[in-house]
Symmetry: D3
Subunit: 137 residues, 6 copies
């Protein structure tokens, strides 16, 4: 049984590699590398898999999952600039993929061990990424 | 190949364990345990997996799947109170997880054997569960 | 200039007129009159019209509008039963129309006088009502 | 007859009044005044009202309206920072209201005179503004 | 008070004027004039305005409005070709605007006189038209 | 890590088997076999799975994936009639399943070998299919 919770946050970012010239950044990242940042309404879906607790009928209380996601991810990223404000991205390009990996680690650390976790992150209504932690192992 | 069909029903419920005191119910289920019920517009996605029938180009005719879901799930639950009106929940807390399990069993019983089934149930636009029957085995 | 804010709450209700027999209620309200209630995920859009404040660039701070809607409407109705828990509906059938009128009055009382108000209430993804207070005058 | 076209762009902004202290900005604009910007996926709906051209059956060819909106609004704002990159906001706070006014003027200048224009701008899925140009007159 | 109901139908069409050459049709209507038709999932929102009936709490029973829309519009247009199957479009180009006018007239004829009617027709998720009958007068 | 891109196209089709009588086609395909075609706003989600490139932070640049999907699928199918205009369907019934298989093959041929591909095709807001290429092997 899987259960999912949807939350959102709004943030600014820029796709930019310090080691590269502006021309190289523009070539690879296009307008996503514009120097003064742009931003998104990110939607994060957090999916947790595990058995139903026969006492409560829950896999996990979604109010608790909601609190973890808001505290670990939304409060940290909301109305922030990934490049300038979030230490994890000091040397990591804030692509949707990398934001998903960082979010997965933050949520994973607060979840009970017996539950599996997948994070799906929508950057726009047309672009989405999904991470299940398998690259961690 | 998987094919999915989306249907919906509106119902009332209350998360409440008879063996517990009102205080214990409130502690575990919060406002979901309010005595006079609340309700949701449930959206049920039914996903069926199997080979494409080379004669028709269908895995299963979605009109037939639609009829099964409406007859087995929507007509049974729509405009009903899970706690009071649906026998399966006489001793089962009507969490989204348990409603998904009951729906899965009802649909499964009407589907051809060679098709696999997953039920995804949206309780609100932010809360969703998904069940593939694996706990049945 | 109009500005809108979207919030939601989940509640149970039953369309039922005390003065009528069960047969008459069933004839007029159909399954919406089922005795044990059903429920919805209500979505309320609150639209406010007025001039832009040149100092702030706001018609009204949407965070303030959000707080008013949550306090006056969502906190009052969420996870409640309109027929049993909400005094305004003791002698008023909780149709979407009447819930919109009651919500409009509650929000109107907290808004600055120079702003106009429209409430749009979605009962399901297919059914919606909109009230601008014009029947009040 | 009204016809509407939906487009979108992603941008960064910060709500901030130069004449105010950081404390005053924080008091009025909250986290929207964070110094390093945040951003949104803006959705702009452009509504045009006029008679149906009996020759084409169109009020206006929506492909033409699309081109105007993309050229005048999306190409100008997309992947930009309203505060730093867009001259119209050098002395104008980039609230959704003010972005809608600026967008309305840019589109209005390219539309045939006999057509009326309304711009609806969604800043998030919960916050939206609508401008019909009436403050211009 | 306004109440709205959302329904849908799927149909094929082609924008094409018999009196014009293929080149002229292509110049004006672009790929919408392709000879073998294309199609859409049309979504029709029917908005009705009137006073709340104090007996029922309804402006109009949305189940009745639903039946009118399905019978007059959806059953007539669903899985049809506007150019070939629908008599009203024998000499009328099936633009969204004209489909909205025809739908408005069909629904208007079945509605009680004291109720006002607006039809909003979504041709795609980005293109929409709205008709209030004012060109009829 | 999976990344997804959403695109859309509008097309006409008819479910119809040449070898069958009209009666047999109507019996199996219902109104989907109507002779003059109907149509849909198809939404195609393209999901690609692979490792994050540590240099760019991308699994695949979604702008490149977008270009592949538009060139291989949307430009080919948009504003076309599957039965009459698309060679792949000369002897293949254009069900959503078969359109997904054909789209999968077209996109697969342009993707780097180390990436896995899943195509999800929405025919209406209620009907969807998903294909991962497993029947190809």
């Amino acid at each position: 049984m899987k259960v999912g919770r949807r939350e959102h946050f709004n943030a600014a970012h820029r796709l930019f590699k310090k080691e590269w010239s502006d021309e190289k950044n523009l070539e690879i990242f296009g307008k996503c590398s514009n120097p003064n940042y742009h931003g998104h309404n990110y939607v994060i879906e957090t999916w947790v898999e595990g058995p139903i607790d026969p006492t409560t009928g829950y896999v996990v209380d979604l109010k608790i999952l909601k609190d973890i996601v808001i505290q670990e991810v939304c409060d940290r990223f909301d109305h922030r600039n990934f490049n300038l404000d979030i230490p994890e991205f000091e040397n990591l390009i804030p692509t949707a993929e990398n934001i998903a990996v960082v979010s997965w680690r933050l949520i994973r650390a607060k979840l009970p061990k017996h539950l599996d976790l997948v994070v799906r992150l929508h950057e726009t209504e047309n672009n989405v990424v999904e991470y299940d932690g398998s690259d961690e192992l």
